[in-house]
Every structure is written in C-alpha cells, then in structure tokens.
C-alpha cells in the first residue's frame, strides 16, 4: 500500500524518480477521464434533468425588484412592470431558443424592436438586456451593472416601464436559463391594469436539479488540479533537495501553469450577458 502511494505520488527509483501521476501516460489517462466525465455529465443532465442539470433560482419578480432597487439607490424613479413588454420579452426568448442564436438580432434579421411591435407596444424609447446561465437573480443584475451598456439601460431616465422573461429550456444543446429584460416608454402613456399580470413572462417554475452540472464540473476540475499541483510541489522540492538529475520539464514552470489554472477555476462564475 505504502509502496503504491510512493510510486504514484513521490519521485522514487520505482518510477524513474518522477511521481507516476506526473508521467505522460498518467496525464493522458487523466485527460481521457476528464473527457469521459464531461460526456457522462452531458448525458445525465439530459436523461435525468431533475438530478443533474443547471441550478437556478432566477425569477422575474426578483429581477424587477433588484433593477428598481438599483435605480432607487441613484434617486431614479422605479420602472413599472408592463405585461405587454413581458410578452415581447417572452417572444424574443422563445425565438432565441427556437432558432438557437445568442444575439440581439436574429439570424433572419429580427431586431428587438420587431418583438416590441409584434406585442403592439408603441414605444418612444426602447432597450433590451440579455443574460444566460446565471445561478441567481442578484448575479444577473450585478453582471449587467458591471457592464457600461447594460448599466446604461438599467439606469436610463428615458424609460418608464420594463418587462422580463425568464426561460428555462434546452438552448444550443445545453439546459439553460435565458433572461430577456426589455425597457420602454410608450408613445401614449396607457395605464396597465393589474389583471394583465397573469401573462407574467415566467411561464413555468424552474426545476432545481439535485446536482448542478457547473458546480460538479468545477469541483472535479479544481480537485484534479489540486492533486496535480500538490504532487508537483512535492516532486519539485524532493528533486531539488536530493539534487537528482533527470530528463524532465521545468517543475517550477509546471507549478506556474497549474497555479494559474487553479486560480482561474476557482474564480470562474457562470453566466453570459449581451
């Protein structure tokens, strides 16, 4: 048992003075395992989406409250929820899912303004924010606030109303949560009745899976990198102390590469905005 561990993790005569884990054959095996695990995660998240999939707690209501809270902090008037705008946002989201595009303009040339018009929203000013793959509403609004153009939409004093659609669907082959936020000011200020809120864009409640595929991939990647980094540190220290001469790459260079890789894996957060 001890000799096996030594063979795997420490430079020793049995492994030609290089931990077996760091041999090219082991690294290749690890890479194949990583690829297989990703294929399995993809298959499981499709076959049993409730067990393995994307975890999200984004709701239109939270996004509206958070957006208005950011505006209030700056002394701007809050935006009124408009179900017609939410319908337009829902139609835009459904169009993106159906045609598999991630852009403000569809591949067949439909601009966001097309959806405003289709919903019979006659606007004086209009704007659109998009987001995908975020885990919660705060992360979405924070990402928008950290982007100058999206922040401009949220903080603009030209808009009076907003509508939001939160869509949980399979997008470009992956289970995804898309958020479409539409802003507008109508040409004639028509009051929107509370009764119309029945068409709130969030069409179905999100199914929160037991295991989040992003978190699982992140945990596996961090664990693997940590193991390699630890073995590499031990290897580099032992080789330096014992002054063993061997034909190998630079241990310190590998440490730099794995260290930066680990920092990236720890720092990466889900979500894209457009």
């Amino acid at each position: 048992m001890l000799s096996t561990l030594t063979h795997l993790f420490l430079p020793h005569s049995s492994n030609n003075y290089k931990a077996k884990t760091l041999h090219i054959s082991s690294l290749s095996t690890l890479m194949i395992l990583v690829m297989l695990s990703q294929i399995l995660i993809t298959i499981f998240s499709r076959v049993v989406p409730n067990v393995l999939g994307i975890a999200t707690s984004i709701t239109a209501e939270e996004l509206i409250n958070l957006t208005n809270s950011k505006r209030s902090e700056q002394g701007l008037p809050v935006l009124t929820y408009n179900p017609v705008l939410a319908q337009a946002a829902q139609a835009k989201g459904a169009d993106m899912v159906a045609k598999g595009y991630w852009a403000h303009t569809s591949p067949d040339g439909l601009t966001p303004w097309t959806f405003f018009k289709q919903a019979s929203y006659k606007y004086l000013y209009a704007g659109e924010n998009l987001a995908r793959d975020f885990g919660n509403s705060s992360a979405v609004v924070n990402a928008w606030m950290n982007s100058a153009t999206h922040r401009e939409n949220i903080m603009s004093n030209r808009y009076r109303e907003m509508g939001i659609a939160v869509i949980h669907d399979t997008f470009q082959g992956q289970p995804t949560t898309l958020v479409v936020q539409m802003f507008g000011t109508q040409v004639s200020s028509v009051s929107i009745t509370e009764a119309a809120e029945a068409v709130l864009a969030e069409m179905e409640a999100p199914q929160v899976p037991v295991i989040d595929s992003f978190s699982l991939t992140k945990s596996v990647s961090i664990s693997l990198t940590l193991v390699l980094l630890t073995v590499m540190i031990i290897d580099t220290v032992i080789i330096a102390r014992k002054r063993i001469v061997r034909l190998s790459g630079k241990g310190w260079a590998h440490l730099v590469f794995l260290g930066i890789l680990l920092l990236i894996l720890i720092g990466i957060q889900p979500g894209l905005i457009l």
Partner: protein, 75 residues
C-alpha cells in the same frame, strides 16, 4: 526573466478568460499553446530539448486546455 514572461502571458490570458466569457474558447487554447511554446523555447535555449519533454509540456497543456474549455462550456 523567462519565468516572469510566462507568468505575465498566462496571467494576462487567465484574466482575460475570466473577464471575457464570450472569448473563452480561444483564450483557453491560447493559454495552452503559449505554455507549450514557452516550454519548447526554454529547453531549446538550454539545449535540453527532448521528445519526452515536448510530450510532457504537450500533455500538461492539453489537460489544462481541456479543463478550461469544459468549464467555459458549462459556465
């Protein structure tokens, strides 16, 4: 000095990877390729370049790139 270059290149690309989600695929590949070429260049300079060393840098770079690409796809 050569290590400072490596840290600067990988650090810069790593930061860009985190800040520019839409460019993660090519940034991950750029990180792997940079690391691989840096290793080859360093060993070539010190006249210690050998096939096993080339393969070592290649396999480690490929593993790192794979992890970054898969993370980018899930994020």
């Amino acid at each position: 000095m050569s290590y400072a270059v490596l840290i600067l290149i990988l650090g810069g690309l790593g930061l860009a990877y985190l800040k520019l989600p839409s460019d993660r695929l090519w940034l991950a590949i750029a990180m792997g390729v940079s690391y691989f070429l840096w290793g080859i260049w360093l060993h070539y300079q010190s006249k210690s370049l050998h096939w096993s060393i080339v393969l070592e840098y290649f396999s480690l770079a490929l593993l790192g790139v794979s992890l970054l690409i898969f993370m980018g796809l899930r994020a």
